[in-house]
Amino acid sequence: MFSLHTAEQAPQPSAPGRTPPQTGAATRATPAGGTIAWRAGRVVALALIVFFAIGPILWMMASSLRPAGELFQAHPSLVPSSVTFTWYQEVFRTDALRWFANSFVVAVCTTAISLTVGTAAGYAVARFTFPGRRILLACLGISYLFPAILLLVPLYLVLAALGLVGGLAGIVIAHLTITVPLTTWLMKSFVEAVPKELEEAARVDGLGYLGGFLRITLPLLRTGLATTAMVAFILSWDEFLLASVIAQGDNVTAPVGMAGLVTSFDIRWGAIMALSTLVTIPVLVLFFVLQRYFEKGLTIGGVKG
């Protein structure tokens, strides 16, 4: 779960962290805005920490573009002398495309199901009182915290009994155990940010509960839905543990297939770095798009106070 708890965590902490107001920026005193030496020290420290954070990512991308002769030398040089796409060409000739297609299908199905179920449940616990509501909330909290490794054996046994081990459907079901608690939790907070009065007015006008939800509330949840969908997609796309025991043969996801490449003696690092770059790029793209949605989500939350 660990990777599990990657990007999904961001909405919570950022809730109190409104982006600093533009107008107040000038008056807002920086706690440590002192001498020039102090500032220079901060800049250096910041540069170091940024280098530490993104250095490995840059190295991964650079390695995927270097010719074999430059990768495998006793004293690796920092700056590549030439750029090559042979590793990518090599990768595209293998089973890797199939792995990525599998990962994509699994992630899309997981996202669609967990978004549907999670939105309905989030709406239920945010808007209604019904018997079992508190139990459902408690289950949500527990399953959100529950480490996936503890679920591994029993989930495997249940899926094996149902004949779902080895297929993509089994992976989707396994991923739902990770994504549904989270999507429900996120959608609950997004629903709470939408005013209740609109749907109540719609109900007075004769729309039923389902009609009020579908026609009034759901369109207002667009930002929340987009954010939640991206989080679910990334979680499923990254997941390794559960997929590694359920996926078999041709039906492995990208992380599982890639993990199997390092065991051989002749490790093709260039190809592996090309695959690593390929598996990272969709996540990075979503992350930078997600950033915008985060802020939209925050302004809604901000209205609520």
């Binding site: 920086t30 030398q73 239920a124 046994l157 890639m258 690092w269």
Partner: protein
């Protein structure tokens, strides 16, 4: 309890409750089948001696739990798990706090730097593991090659493949991966600190260090607590990174509880015993969680009195 009868009445209250139940039903069903039932199954399996290859299961009662006490491999695994958890958390929180202090400034482009610093936390764990394995490769890895030329590391050695350094290296990589999350939580909390406190401190002649210890740090206490609780559970049971970096080796030198459970279940096919280890870990987590909750409750009460 008036709720059950209300559910069945014809009035608006009953309709409201039925609507809530209907929205919550899919998630409740999903929780029961893919989370609740497997957890129950986990406890049941732990009472059997079960071989995944032959499929034979014999009732073992509490035998599996008894075997836990005499498992020497488990004992050293627990030691590694403690070291892994404590040092990972300390590193992630420490570096996260430092990074949060550094990005808490009104300098131009800070938003982008914040984004860049979050990248280690969002990229897929498989890419993290593979790129670090590449950088630490004993012959061509950029980090290992440099360490070797400085004489810190033996010729041709990979820190991940040496018993003395495998766990420490995995911890360092885990710090790299996890510090951005702590940074985000700390930074978000810092944005809510009243700036007037800093102004007042400045008037009183406080330097940056005093501002940090007397204003910033006390305000970050709650963020620190929730980070410790959440990250504590997930780091304790974090599987992917250790497995993908070292598979718990060499010679079990980086084996943590989660890789041990995986190894016992999927490598040795002792499903019953793996379920017993997982159940014991789950019970321990639940007990720790309950204790923490009670302590927080009691302290909260005392503060109010």
């Amino acid at each position: 309890m008036a709720s059950a009868p209300t559910l069945l009445t014809r009035g608006p209250a009953g309709r409201q409750q039925r609507a809530g139940l209907a929205f919550a039903a899919p998630a409740a069903l999903l929780f029961a089948t893919i989370l609740g039932y497997p957890i129950f199954e986990s406890f049941r399996t732990s009472l059997f001696s079960m071989d995944l290859l032959t499929g034979r299961a014999t009732f073992a009662g509490l035998g599996n739990f008894g075997a836990l006490l005499h498992d020497m491999a488990l004992r050293s695994t627990l030691g590694h798990t403690m070291v892994w958890t404590v040092l990972s958390l300390a590193g992630q929180l420490g570096l996260g706090l430092a990074a949060a202090l550094l990005i808490d400034a009104d300098w131009p482009g800070m938003r982008w730097i914040r984004q860049l610093l979050l990248i280690p936390y969002v990229i897929p764990v498989i890419a993290t593991a593979l790129v670090w394995r590449w950088m630490l490769d004993g012959h061509y890895g950029i980090i290992s090659a440099n360490l070797q030329s400085w004489g810190v590391l033996q010729e041709g050695a990979n820190p991940l493949d040496q018993e003395s350094t495998s766990l420490a290296t995995a911890i360092l990589i885990n710090i790299w991966r996890g510090f951005p999350f702590a940074m985000l939580v700390f930074w978000a909390r810092m944005q809510t600190i009243d700036r007037a406190q800093y102004e007042a401190a400045k008037v009183d002649g406080a330097g940056p260090w005093q501002e940090f210890t007397h204003i910033t740090l006390p305000n970050l206490r709650s963020a620190m607590m929730s980070l410790l609780a959440l990250r504590g559970i997930w780091t304790l049971m974090y599987f992917e990174l250790v497995w993908l970096l070292t598979r718990g080796g060499p010679a079990g030198s980086s084996e943590t509880l989660s890789t041990y459970i995986y190894q016992v279940a999927m490598g040795e096919f002792q499903v019953g015993y793996a379920a017993a280890v997982a159940s014991a870990a789950g019970l321990f987590l639940a007990a720790a969680g309950l204790a923490a909750w009670i302590v927080i409750r009691l302290r909260g009460r005392r503060r109010h009195v």
